[in-house]
Symmetry: C2
């Protein structure tokens, strides 16, 4: 399925459609109207129709959407029909939390290795994966067809690690370090800057208080 | 300082300005031109000038921006000059990771309590905070002037906990549970849906491969 011509705004909303359709599917719902989906997702029915029309005509007048089909097609667009092997750099609490999400596995993301520079953490197990020393990382990436690296380390070491990842052929970095990485354009980066998110929350509290006394 | 009339797009970019200005300040930089800031942040200088013009005239022709002043003013707009007390619900790896971020403290977010339903985790310490049973949560919120709750629990229990938070006067929820919460409009919610973020990364990998063979 081609995605050319689909706007970034629509793409940005796809994971949420995918999540809701997955839940409907899991509870045995076979079809749903845009009106019902609208009430569930709290977006307008016309927004839903416009968004899903981008993927051809799986909505039929008077019938609604076929939940399983739509779920699967959106999954394909998101690339979830492919398998990706990922490693986690940083075996602290955040790295371990991410390693323990079995949900990622269901979506084709295979947790394959974990690395830390702290000797005390080497050999610790997160699910079936043993934490290895950082010195093993580069060879491990090359030998195990790793395409995604999760950076769950403080910002100080992040740039240096990122350069090693790039040199060894990683395709994408899921970056939790509080720093914007300098990597070539062909490396996909998704930042999760938790401090930025907390500041947005803080801003919204302040604004609400100002507007409502 | 008033923020009325400042667009949501600008507001969304403020945490990043704040982060860069804070780093400049910490390394002793006193002033910076929009051109230099542009190279550092990889956004256009005209975008920076437009964004920062919203806050009045602290850029002077030929002088640039006063780093400390701008940092402080953006901090005020973000509400970081106020103190907020927060609790964390869920003492698993993610909850502990969030409890251990001392950075939040520096920005006025005071980690005040932690709760879990797992008896094995009760009494465990995260920094100076002991994990308490869920039954203590509601009273604790009321007695300790808690305004933010961090939800670091699986989606199944999240809605029920959210309702308890709302009933006891919480102002804002930082939601890491993979579910959209049903709360009144006067409760500020900031979602961090990690699966959605990983799917965006997956989409970008697929698209890059399609476009570049």
């Amino acid at each position: 399925m081609e995605d050319r011509g689909i706007s970034q705004a629509v793409i940005g909303r796809l994971p949420r459609y995918f999540r809701y359709l997955g839940e409907l599917k899991d509870t045995g719902v076979e079809r749903i109207s845009s009106q019902e989906l609208s009430e569930l997702m709290k977006v307008t029915a016309s927004q839903i129709r416009q968004d899903l029309n981008n993927f051809g005509g799986f909505g039929q007048q008077g019938y609604g959407y076929n939940v399983e089909y739509l779920y699967r097609e959106i999954g394909k667009i998101l690339g979830l029909d492919q398998k990706h092997h990922f490693i986690i750099i940083g075996a602290g609490n955040l790295g371990r939390a991410l390693g323990n999400y079995t949900n990622f596995e269901k979506r084709g993301f295979i947790f394959s290795g974990m690395f830390d520079q702290n000797p005390k953490l080497i050999g610790m197990k997160v699910r079936n994966i043993s934490v290895q020393p950082m010195e093993n990382m580069e060879r491990f990436i090359r030998e195990n067809d790793i395409d995604i690296a999760v950076l769950a380390i403080p910002k100080n070491g992040a740039e240096e690690v990122a350069q090693k990842l790039v040199r060894n052929g990683i395709k994408a970095i899921w970056n939790f370090a509080h720093v914007d990485l300098n990597v070539p354009k062909d490396i996909q980066v998704e930042n999760v800057h938790l401090s930025d998110s907390l500041m947005k929350l803080s801003y919204n509290i302040s604004r609400y208080q100002q507007e409502n006394g």
